[in-house]
């Protein structure tokens, strides 16, 4: 179904307002700049295709997150062998965002964070990305399609796992 000129403008405006979501999800599921770029384009394309079914009364970021995560999980499953969908902490080699982008030096914590995310499976990554983005349990449950209780239980376990990994990494340094 084709979008009218007005709808297209609305789509582009909304996506532009929330374009950070595309970047964050791509950063969570792709480790090289080329993969991040491909994934971003794939997410934008699916958003465009899904937009005719978007209901304006629903929050746009929630809708956008759902599409972006679905595309990203499929991308990861398609482009990575199952054994490589979760990568041991000490085996991860990341290609960090282009540093010409900003004046800041690479933060060790950013590196650590990306390494930690890469150790998680596709569904747990989604959960952690939403947690890092400060979404409420209710929002996470809506986006993922599981109960709030399930979100709380899983997050508590994941946070504990992350704490242990952080400690292990820091001890190793």
């Amino acid at each position: 179904m084709a979008l009218t000129v007005d709808e297209e403008q609305t789509f582009l405006r909304l996506v532009d307002q929330h374009r950070g979501i595309v970047g964050k999800v791509a950063a969570g599921y792709a480790s090289t700049a080329a993969d991040r770029h491909d994934l971003s384009q794939e997410i934008l394309l699916q958003l465009w295709k899904a937009f005719p079914r978007y209901l304006a009364e629903r929050p746009f970021p929630t809708w956008m997150y759902r599409v972006a995560l679905n595309v990203a999980i499929s991308f990861l499953r398609r482009n990575t062998r199952p054994a490589r969908q979760t990568v041991p902490l000490d085996e991860i080699e990341l290609e960090l965002p282009d540093q010409s982008a900003g004046p800041n030096e690479i933060d060790e914590r950013v590196v650590l964070l990306q390494r930690l995310i890469a150790t998680l499976g596709p569904l747990n990554r989604a959960l952690v990305l939403l947690y890092l983005d400060d979404h409420s349990y209710r929002e996470i449950a809506t986006i993922l399609g599981i109960s709030e209780t399930n979100v709380a239980t899983k997050l508590s376990r994941l946070k504990e796992q992350l704490r242990q990994k952080i400690t292990a990494t820091q001890l190793a340094l």
Binding site: R19, V22, Q46, P82, Q114, T149
Partner: protein, 222 residues
């Protein structure tokens, strides 16, 4: 050395988002200039594979229906026509189910729901491929007979004992090979393991592993 906490990671995540900001803007601009322009000009990705399968299936069904109706009095040709029609119907049914599964996927639905639908689609593709392989190893016989008949050969040759023996043994060999391959794949030996770990085997396992992973993610609330 400072100790990193989860809150530090949240801050780091926001910093990372800021670092990626110009790349996000670039990605959106590129999307507008390339992909969107192509969409505007009427480009639509079609499910070409399934549509062509549907057309081929309808073609086989239509041809074979006419064929067996015209050969009601000739048993071998009637059987061949019916077998081909069943094959054509299977083709159509598989294509229709494929199209239905693809069309119902709405990427804006909750993540678990869509991932499950995608995994089911993948598993269905694999099952369909097995059926295509199995029927494909047998369907050449009726096709051959129909083609020979179409080229002017008298179908009475099918009733000749040596030909009947040849036909029956060909069917038996095809079925035997397929059965043997399935049994071998189930066996615990080295060959069986090699077959299970081959492309098809690992793809089946992979599709099942994804479904199991989703189920576990959904269930693990306790």
């Amino acid at each position: 050395m400072t100790t990193t906490t989860l809150d530090d990671l949240k801050i780091a995540w926001n910093e990372l988002s800021q670092k990626l900001e110009w790349q996000n803007a670039l990605a959106l601009r590129q999307f507008k200039e390339t992909k969107l322009a192509r969409f505007r000009s009427g480009f639509r990705p079609l499910v070409l594979g399934q549509l062509s399968q549907l057309i081929i299936g309808i073609g086989i069904s239509a041809f074979s229906a006419t064929y067996w109706v015209n050969h009601l009095g000739r048993l071998p040709l009637l059987i061949c026509g019916l077998l081909l029609q069943a094959y054509g119907i299977m083709f159509v049914a598989f294509a229709v189910r494929d199209l239905f599964l693809i069309r119902r996927i709405d990427y804006a639905a909750p993540v678990i729901e869509i991932q499950k639908e995608l995994a089911e689609l993948r598993a269905w593709h694999l099952r369909a491929a097995t059926w295509h392989g199995l029927t494909g190893s047998l369907v050449w016989l009726p096709v051959l007979i129909v083609l020979l008949h179409g080229s002017g050969a008298d179908e009475s040759w099918i009733s000749q004992p040596p030909k009947v023996i040849w036909l029956i043994s060909s069917i038996a060999v095809c079925l035997g090979l397929t059965y043997g391959l399935i049994r071998l794949a189930q066996s615990p030996g080295r060959c069986g393991r090699a077959l299970r770990e081959s492309w098809i085997g690992s793809t089946v396992n992979r599709a099942q592993a994804v479904l199991d992973e989703i189920e576990e993610f959904e269930r693990e609330a306790g």
